[in-house]
């Protein structure tokens, strides 16, 4: 008996016959959706791709709008051919190829844009939508960070909505409704997606592919000229995270060794064996004049006399950001059981392939072990090598010192460190440029330098005295997160220090920077540069600069942790992680159990979704007058007089008046008002007369009035 809420007139009762369905044209709503989709999908690519693709996007978009308005027509075939040839040529000019990943992505984007000019029917629209899915994936190859992932999922909602829009009845322009449907479907798909993500067995790559190349290699490079590391220190980008199973060692013990530089060529320090970089590719045990330089098996077996295991072991997992380099970072004397990671004779870690993707590895380190107590001859020769020319002042200075301490290495070291400490040496990110006799200049004139200056000068001084010494490049320290037991190491934690070989002790770490700026080792770079104010000078908005503001720092730490978890549990969820998880979950892994878990989970979720989607009912929506009247009926029920199903308002009024005579007049007015609104043809919903009457009814229903009989 009540009239249901009337629908917008544009939709109600509209049916239409389509004589042809073979080429259903694209309605306006869909076009809006497709435009939005394309814009969203293209946006993150824009920074990376050549600028002309952006221009192409604008041109195609405008052209399409003109086509839609009926002002321009679809481009002629020759023009389309020209555009395609132009796009291919442009790509070739930009990348020198049209087959690589980057060139491929640009071509894909061009196809995607040019399709706009060809999009005539629904099938073309589908193609655009499906291409969008692909373009999204290419974006993910470049960045998988949380913001990027969030953006991707937002885009997926829009794409899904675009598909919904394509299937809505033509002529309905309800963007909000369409978006809601898309979002609901997306949200319903998420639990299934998570289940599949966890349980679908991962495979290794089936064929080798080109990975997106980074603009520049990051991290410590394979050679070092004093000043290099200062460059690195300007970046607050993450280098790696290390999670310890037990407690984190003290800050001044966190020397993350990357590469060992023992060869000095002019001013530049290099790895003794350049082939080490390529070792991964040859895959074999590299040898230098008969001495193996690398092993892919347990190094304690390979070089049984080199390391004397001592003290407690440290267990930790490192998640390394892509560096495009082969070497990995670890604390001293690492042991590893990973077929793809080898150990060099200098006891650093090396990966078979340059680290192009974020890599996770587990290490066990023995920091207090003795290394090379008996130094092989070839290694000694390598680490005392020095050119006979240059830096005459330094040579005299060193010779004199060496004689002063009666050629006792330990004393010699102490004296040099004292020298650094007592003379006015400065630790700075902005060292002056040095000339030909750089060590002379640094030691006696400028006395301003960064860790690389101190380390290389120190090793130089050692070698003049004939003491085996070498420069180690890597990272020092890092930001500790004690609640989650991990250390976060950033590019500005890059560091260089020295290792000196001493009788009976083997290789001993000496950090000359600690003598100049002890706060660098204790509290990190920021503290060491506090006076100079040059810490992260070029990135004024870096959140690390606002460490002192409590809430910003907390926010930053929370975000770091979120990112860390994201990386550890989502992005690094690969074959090994998955197996580990299965073993944890099932006790022992078996395919049968996996199938059961996957099938059971899928079934359960689908049933729940099915119940929700298929059996959920929407309540009847009444028009506003009826809603008010039902409120009135509710009041009546409270008075003990319930309206029966199908009872007319007039009849109910009569019963009610008998039941509560005091309210008789009021009930009469309410009923009259309602009946007028509902049945009088002069009162059309939405018109001012109706609205006035409705307001009156609202007031009436809200305040029952008692009147004397």
């Amino acid at each position: 008996m009540f009239r249901q809420k009337s629908k917008p007139s544009s939709q109600s009762g509209k049916t239409h016959n389509q004589r042809t369905i073979a080429v259903a044209s694209i309605p306006r709503t869909s076009l809006i959706w497709l435009f939005t989709t394309q814009a969203l999908v293209l946006l993150p690519h824009l920074l990376r791709i050549p600028y002309w693709v952006g221009i192409l996007a604008v041109v195609c978009g405008c052209w399409r709008i003109m086509i839609f308005n009926g002002r321009w027509s679809y481009p002629a075939r020759w023009l389309k051919a020209l555009l395609v040839i132009g796009a291919v040529t442009g790509t070739f000019l930009n990348y020198g190829t049209i087959v690589g990943l980057e060139a491929g992505v640009v071509l894909l984007l061009c196809t995607f844009l040019l399709k706009l000019l060809e999009m005539k029917n629904q099938r073309d629209a589908y193609l655009v939508v499906f291409l969008s899915y692909f373009v999204i994936v290419t974006q993910l190859l470049y960045s998988q960070a949380i913001p990027s992932a969030a953006y991707t999922f937002f885009t997926l909602v829009v794409i899904t909505s675009a598909l919904v829009g394509l299937h809505q009845q033509q002529g309905t322009l309800e963007l909000k409704k369409t978006l809601r449907k898309g979002a609901v479907m997306m949200l319903q798909a998420v639990p299934l997606m998570v289940l599949l993500f966890i349980f679908i067995p991962r495979l290794g790559p089936i064929w080798s592919v080109e990975l997106p190349s980074q603009k520049a290699r990051s991290g410590v490079s394979d050679q070092m000229t004093p000043g290099d590391i200062a460059e690195l220190s300007k970046s607050d980008a993450l280098a790696f995270r290390a999670t310890f199973t037990d407690t984190i060692p003290p800050q001044n013990q966190l020397y993350w060794r990357g590469i060992v530089l023992s060869e000095l060529m002019g001013r530049t320090w290099r790895q003794a064996s350049r082939e080490l970089t390529l070792a991964g590719r040859t895959g074999q045990d590299l040898k230098l004049s008969g001495n193996p330089l690398i092993t892919w098996r347990d190094q304690f077996q390979r070089w049984p006399n080199a390391v004397k295991k001592q003290g407690q072991a440290l267990n930790y997992t490192v998640i390394l950001e892509p560096t495009q380099q082969n070497w990995l970072y670890a604390l001293a004397v690492p042991q590893i059981s990973n077929v793809d990671i080898g150990v060099t004779r200098d006891f650093t870690l090396i990966a078979r392939e340059p680290v192009r993707l974020r890599q996770q590895y587990k290490v066990r380190s023995y920091p207090s072990s003795l290394v090379d107590v008996e130094l092989p001859h070839w290694l000694r020769r390598q680490n005392v090598q020095l050119s006979a020319f240059g830096n005459p002042k330094t040579r005299t200075f060193a010779q004199q010192l060496w004689d002063d301490v009666e050629q006792k290495p330990q004393l010699y070291i102490d004296r040099i460190l004292q020298y650094f400490n007592r003379q006015p040496f400065y630790y700075t990110l902005k060292p002056p440029t040095l000339g030909f006799n750089s060590v002379d200049e640094f030691l006696f004139t400028s006395r301003r330098g960064f860790c690389a200056h101190y380390a290389s000068t120190f090793v130089y001084l050692m070698r003049i005295a004939g003491i085996p010494a070498r420069v180690i490049a890597g990272y020092q320290g890092g930001e500790r997160n004690t609640t989650n037991n991990y250390v976060q190491v950033r590019q500005f934690d890059a560091h260089a220090w020295a290792e000196v070989w001493l009788e009976d002790k083997g290789w001993v770490r000496v950090d000359p920077t600690a003598s100049v700026a002890p706060e660098r080792i204790q509290d990190g770079l920021e503290a060491a540069l506090a006076e100079e104010g040059s810490f992260l000078e070029d990135t004024p908005l870096s959140p690390i600069r606002f460490k002192h503001i409590g809430w910003i720092n907390r926010l930053r730490l929370e975000w770091d942790m979120l990112e860390y978890r994201w990386q550890r549990f989502v992005l690094n969820y690969n074959q090994d992680q998955q197996m580990e998880f299965f073993n944890q979950l099932f006790g022992t892994f078996s395919w049968y159990k996996l199938a059961l878990a996957l099938g059971g989970g899928l079934g359960a979720i689908i049933i729940m979704l099915g119940v929700w989607i298929i059996f959920r009912r929407q309540p009847i929506k009444y028009d506003p007058a009826t809603r008010l009247y039902l409120k009135f009926c509710q009041w009546g029920r409270k008075q003990g007089c319930q309206r029966l199903t199908g009872e007319t308002p007039i009849h109910y009024l009569q019963r009610l008046q008998q039941h509560v005579p005091y309210y008789s007049a009021w009930a009469q007015r309410v009923t009259d008002n309602f009946v007028t609104l509902q049945y009088n043809p002069d009162f059309e919903e939405g018109e001012s007369l109706y609205q006035k009457e409705l307001v009156l009814l609202k007031k009436l229903v809200r305040h029952p009035v008692k009147s004397p009989r």
């Binding site: 389509q18 994936v137 993910l140 190859l141 809505q168 479907m185 929506k621």
Partner: protein, 328 residues
Amino acid sequence: MRTLIKNYFGRWLDQRIPPSTTIFLNQKRIFILPTRTGYFFILIGLAVFFAAVNYENSMSFMVAFFLASLFLVCILHTYANLAGLEITALYASKVHVGDDVGFTIQLQDIVGKPHESIRLFWQPYQVSTVSLIAHEKKSVSVFLLASQRGYFRPGRLCIETHYPLGLLRAWTWVDLNSQALIYPKPIACPLPACHIASSEGDTLAKEGVEDFTGLRSYQPGDGLRHIAWKHFWKSDDLLTKQFSAYTDMRLWLDWEQFAGASIEERLSFLCYWCLQCEQHQRDYGLRIPNITLEPARGPQHLARCLTALALFGVNQPGITPGKGTDNV
């Protein structure tokens, strides 16, 4: 072989969804399969999956699994979009052979869910689309080319939906027992010259005053002038003299007028002339074998005539009256 399969399928369908005027769409009656777009979507999902495998890219795995999940969710939504509708055949329009006959069908949501873009058709090139909000009741006409005179049964109505994503098609074939009465196709022709019926046999008398035609027993109200007084003197029977006036100017549309034409042609010619007369506001009568309709005019008369023409030589419809949905 093909017809064999078709027949078998038809029998199977008759068992599964027996003909009925009102049909409620539930899982027993709804079929669901991916569309071509759906298969393409699966292909895209697989491509994304292999890209993810090769690039070892976790987020791409997510996208691939998202596409798979979306497909599964879409199955439920597509089904839910069609299920819970009650389909009732209301009536059919009456048209001539060669025109589109419109069957009016009522859709009602029973389960409190909106139903978007429901497509109804008998032939895939004549689709009616309708959308309902929750608890709504709506009527829609679905058209079909009327190919045959008499009671026209359109067969099974296809009700389908691709909403929301177009990846799947949920559909059903329902037989709503509908039938429409299809009139012959009107074909213009000259009316044979003899059509003004003036011969004795074609005349129907009506009481008049010109010619004496006979006597009948007196009934109260007969004029005194017409009483056969002479006869009364002779036999004591009170009789009334009857006179008749010829109605020769009225039109008779006769089967025999179109001798030489085939049955369907004759029906078409007669149909044409019925419509012409009606248009020009002239009385006309119809005479076809076994049926004679008195000259008259007006929509009811026209309907009677056209129905007679439509059903000429047609056996009784296969369904019992009252159960059928059309109005004869």
